[in-house]
Every structure is written in C-alpha cells, then in structure tokens.
C-alpha cells in the first residue's frame, strides 16, 4: 500500500534524530556526518520553508487550472463541474504517483499538494453532485474527505491527511440534522474511536517510525475529543443545563487529568502538550460554564497559579535523585527546546499583552490615547 519503503522512511527519521543529537552536543560533526552517510536514501527532499512554498504555489496552480477549465469551457451545470473535478482529482493523483516514482520526491511540497488536492477535488465533486438534492448535502463531501484522507495517509504517509480525515469524520455529525447535543456526542465518539485505534500502534512503536506519526494523530484525536465536549468553545454558546451539559462539564475536567496521566505514564510529549493545553482551557472556561461572572483579578490568579505551579514542579523535580523523578527532569536535554523558545520569543513581538480586556465600563480615570508597542504602555486602560 505504502509507496515509500518502510526501511527508507525509517532512515529518514533516524537521520533527523541524529541531526538533533548533533545540535544538542551529543555527537560531534564528523560522527554525525559518518552516520548520516550510512542513512542516506535516494529521496529528493527539501527544507521546511521551501517545502511550504512549493505546497502553496502548487496548490495555486491546481486551483487555477481547474477553475480555468470550468470558466473557459463554460461548465455551468453542477454534474459537469463535478465531472471536471473528478477528472482533475484523477490527474492530481496520477501526478503525485509520477513525481514520487520518477523523481523520488519525499516531503517536497509539490507531490504533497497534488495528492491533497486530489481529495479536496473529490470532495468538491461530491458537493457539486449532491448540491441542492439532499437535506444533508455536506455529508457526502465530508465522507469523501474521511476516506480520501485515510487513503492518502496510508499510501503516502502525509500526517495532515490523517488529521484531516479525523477532522472530516468529526465534522459529519455537525452536517446532519440531529440535535446539537447529539452532534457533539457522535463527534466525541468518533474522536475517541480514532484515539483508541491509533493508541495501540503508538504504544507498540513508541517514537520509532511510524509511532511518531501515531503519537501526533493520537494527540490530535484527544484534542478533538476535548474540543467537541467543551460547550464553551462553540459558535452557539447557549446550551440548556441538562444532564448532557453537566456531563460535558465533568468531562472537561476528567479529560485533561486522564490525558496527563496517560502521557506521563508513557512519556508521550504530544499527548502531554495537548492535555496541558486542555487543562488551561478548562481553567479559563470554568466560570462561563458555571455561569459565574468573570472578575478582573481572575487573570492575576490564573497567572499566579501557572507561575507557582511551574516553580513548584521545577523544585520538586530538582530535589529528586539526579534532578529527576521517574525519569522526568526540568533540565533542557535537546537543542530543539531552545529553538522552540527562540521562535516564541521572536513571535512575541507581535503578541504583546493587551492591557484593556474589560468589557465593563471603566471607572475614572479614563486613560485615552496612546500608540502601540511598549507592551501597550501608552494604550488606553
């Protein structure tokens, strides 16, 4: 099924890990070069930035080509448009196969864009074909998205296709005429099912390929499960305080705890980060859930809680033997941790905190005017 040989993909992942060890100072340059030479495969690859550019511009070319055919030939009927999309999808899939087989493209952007475009075009074809004919007209395109995404992942191993497939599956109930509670419940079951399927593979393979992919898919399914069950994250904020409402309230507390427990047990970083994020969202949405009024000092308490938690965890870990407990340490081990912090620090220039979040009318004095920057030093209070 898979177009790339398992051994080749394992080598690609191993090479990335070796490069990380070198950057972290565990290997010297000559050792890393020697090992990298041994792990060499005949794939044509590129770096993240050029890959993103190639993905973007190939997508533009595909979208423009299909639109141009429809426009130039005056294809107005929905069934004819659907046919054009199906033909284009087949051509895209053929192009992906051709590029990979003949040019050995691997995560090169171009072949990824055409493969993903094939699924999107098939989904569009289904949307054109069912347009106006059925009450649940989005179900067919989403179902195509589920199957197409799954096929693309199994064939080419694109993680985004697997995540898209789960996303489409979870979105199907929202396109159906069922009560709002039922939609969320079905979507949650789909995410939980996806999680349980992938978790088995994750536990078997660990961080070794394709276990690393399974880890990310598992964490995304867990995030999806949390998001559909948190009723405060929704376009429709009002839900009756029924059994379902309080069940979801219980779940938004239970899920992060279970996620943290599972992630620490297996030292699973993607699941840990998702569970941590879910825990923070639970704290932030707790008051709206209970219909309590938000107070100005809530962010202060929240901030202090985060800071104190981080400090206490660091101290607790630091006091263990070799500054670790159960293998968990607060020390930096790999260079990628510092790189991630450097990116966050640079990006923070555009994310300086706003100092006037209150929807309530301000008491005197009223601070008007001010320019931006300076962390809002001159902004209005």
């Amino acid at each position: 099924m898979r177009i790339y040989a398992q051994a080749d993909e394992e080598k690609v992942r191993a090479e990335a890990v070796v490069r990380e060890w070198q950057r972290s100072g565990f290997l010297d340059t000559s050792q890393a070069a020697q090992i990298a030479n041994e792990l060499r495969v005949d794939f044509r690859r590129t770096n993240f930035f050029l890959r993103a550019l190639l993905f973007l511009f190939t997508s533009i070319v595909v979208a423009a080509s299909v639109s141009l055919v429809i426009t130039v030939f005056g294809v107005d009927e929905k069934t004819a448009q659907a046919t054009v999309c199906v033909i284009a999808a087949i051509l895209c899939l053929g192009a992906a196969e051709f590029l990979i087989r003949n040019f050995r493209f691997y995560r090169f952007g171009v072949e990824e864009a055409v493969a993903i475009a094939a699924v999107v075009l098939l989904g569009l074809a289904a949307a054109f074909a069912t347009s106006g004919s059925e009450p649940d007209e989005l179900v067919a395109p989403l179902a195509i998205g589920v199957l197409g995404g799954l096929f693309i992942y199994l064939r080419y191993g694109y993680l985004c296709a697997a995540l898209g497939s789960i996303g489409c599956a979870a979105a199907i109930p929202f396109a159906m005429h069922v009560p709002a509670e039922g939609k969320r419940l079905i979507a949650a079951l789909i995410c939980a099912f996806s999680f349980s399927i992938v978790r088995r593979g994750r536990l078997q393979r660990g961080d070794d390929f394709p276990g690393d992919d399974y880890g990310l898919i598992q964490a995304s399914a867990w995030a999806g499960l949390y998001l559909v069950l948190n009723l405060q994250i929704s376009f429709i904020r009002y839900y009756e305080q029924s059994l379902f409402y309080w069940l979801t309230y219980a779940m938004i507390w239970i899920l992060p705890v279970v996620g943290l427990w599972l992630s620490f047990r297996s030292k699973d970083r993607p699941l840990l980060n998702v569970s941590l994020m879910a825990a923070l969202i639970t704290l932030a949405t707790n008051k709206p859930y209970l219909h309590l009024m938000r107070r100005p000092w809530d962010p202060i308490l929240f901030g202090l809680f985060l800071i104190v938690s981080a400090v206490l965890i660091k101290r607790w870990l630091g006091k263990g033997p070799n500054a670790q407990r159960g293998g968990v340490t607060a020390s930096r081990l790999l260079a990628r941790d510092c790189q991630a912090l450097a990116i966050v620090s640079t990006a923070s220039a555009a994310l300086q905190p706003a100092l006037s979040p209150s929807p309530a009318p301000a008491a005197k004095p009223n601070f008007d005017g001010g320019r931006s920057g300076g962390a809002g030093a001159t902004g209005s209070f």
Binding site: L54, V61, S67, G303, L333
Partner: protein, 314 residues
Amino acid sequence: MTILERLSTWKETGAIRGTQYDTISAIVRKERFSVFFELNALLYLGVLSLIAGTGWVIQVYAASLGDAAIISCLTLILFGSLYYCFTRGLPYSTAQVESPTLVFDYVLYLACLTLALEIGYVETRFHVLHSEWDYYLLGSAVLFFGFAYRFDNRLVLSLALSTFAGWFGIRTSRLNLLSGISIRGPALIYSAVVIAAGTWFFWRNIKKHFTETYFHLGVIVLFSALISQVIGNESWFDLAAVLLFAAVAILGGVKFGRFAFVVYGIFFGYVAISSQLLRGLRMDSVGALGYFLISGSVVTMFVILLARGLGHEE
C-alpha cells in the same frame, strides 16, 4: 529497525563511543524526559496573564484603589523583580549566557511589562510629558534593550523592538495592509535602523544569537509597509522597491542558509506583483486565472530548481 537497534550497531562499529551510547540511549528509552519547554510555556503564559489581569484591575478599580496604592504596588513588583535579576544574574558576556534559573527570564519580562504599565498609568494620570509622551516609548525601548543585552533575554529584546516600533508609530501587532494610511516612511526608517543595528552587533560579535530576531522583525515591517503602498496607492515605485528587497532577501537567505527570508522574498514579491497586475480584474476571470496558472507554475519551477541545488539543507 528501531533507533535503539541502530544505536547499538553504531556503538559496535565504533561510530559512537560507549559514553555517548549511554547518554543518548537513556533519552531514546525515555529514562530521561525533559519538561523544560512545558515549564517555560507555563511561566510565559503566567506572566502574560498576570500583567493583563493587573491592567484590568487598574482599569476597573483605579478610582477606588487610588493612585498611591496602584503606583506603590506596581513599583514594588518592578523593584522586586529587578532586585531579583540584578542579584541572581550572571556576569555580562558578549556571548550567549544561559539563564541562572528557570524563572529568571520571566521575572525580567515581568519587570519590563510592569514598567510599561506603570509609565502608562503615571503619564495618563499626571501628564508629566504632555504631548511629548511618546518619548516614554523611546526611553522604555532603550531600557529594554539594555536589559535584554545585560541579561541575555530574547523575550525582552522582542519587547524592546516592538516598543521601538511603537515610537516610530507602527503597531507591529496590527499592521493593516489595506488601511490606506501611509506608514511607509517611519516603517522604512525603522527597518533600516533595526537591520543596521542587528548587523552591527553581529559584526562586533555582541550577542550574535540575537541577530535573527532583528532581521525577522525588520524584514517583515519593511515588506508590510511597502506592500501596503502597492495595494493601497498602486505605487509602481514601491513595487520596484519590494522586488529589489525581495531579491536581496532571497539571495541573502540562500547565502546564509536562512530560508525563512527566502520565503519572505518570494511570498511578498508575489503578492506585490499580483496585486498590481490583477488590479481591476475579477478573480474568476480568464485573465486572472491564467495569470495564477502561469505565475504559479513559474514560481514553483523556480523554487524546485532552488531546492534541487540546496538539497534538504535546514
């Protein structure tokens, strides 16, 4: 073949030493698992939340709390944080210096944000500088630059750069390309100063790891300002400037292996040319679609050729 099996093979063939095997295999087996990034993320979010809440409390309760209480509290936080930093900080070095503690960087960040909050409050209440209030921004920026270099703090450097941008009249967080209001002049000067400063520090071997932060901000502000003119005012002069700087960004990015700048050059260059050439055309017209097909193909071919020449260099 798993990573652990490969490690064993490399050890047996002598590609790695026994001590290296022990260290790396402990990490691979997850006998050592770091939560360094997660703890830093909690601290960063904590400081942001704390300062946002403080601003909100001041906004709502300023009248009842009174100036003395507010200024005292803010001053206490400010001096407490600075005392911590000056007593715990490692000696200055032009090279990269690790933070002495996990919370150190965030305590300094909190001090800087508290200073910004306090200055804003004092000026709004007492109008010390009146219409010249924007010099607070310049003063704060200089102080933040000083702290960033003294304590080797990239978060504070970003704060300094955005405060400096504020002094130039640019809202770095909300650059609106379609506003029609010209920000080109100040933005160009800002970009030139920031890029020149980054280059100067690099040449002088002072905190060379800060250089990319200067360049990212400088280049993004530069392109955003010029493109706002191309889109808003149909300026051919600005289009020429975008293309010139795009070429420089692409060449520089390739030469120094910083491919984010290649992305900036190609992306902003494409947006500028497209906005000028497609002016007045409907997006679903044959002309516009033909343009996207041809231009997209040309750019794709160009990037493929570039990527082939570079391999998968990071």
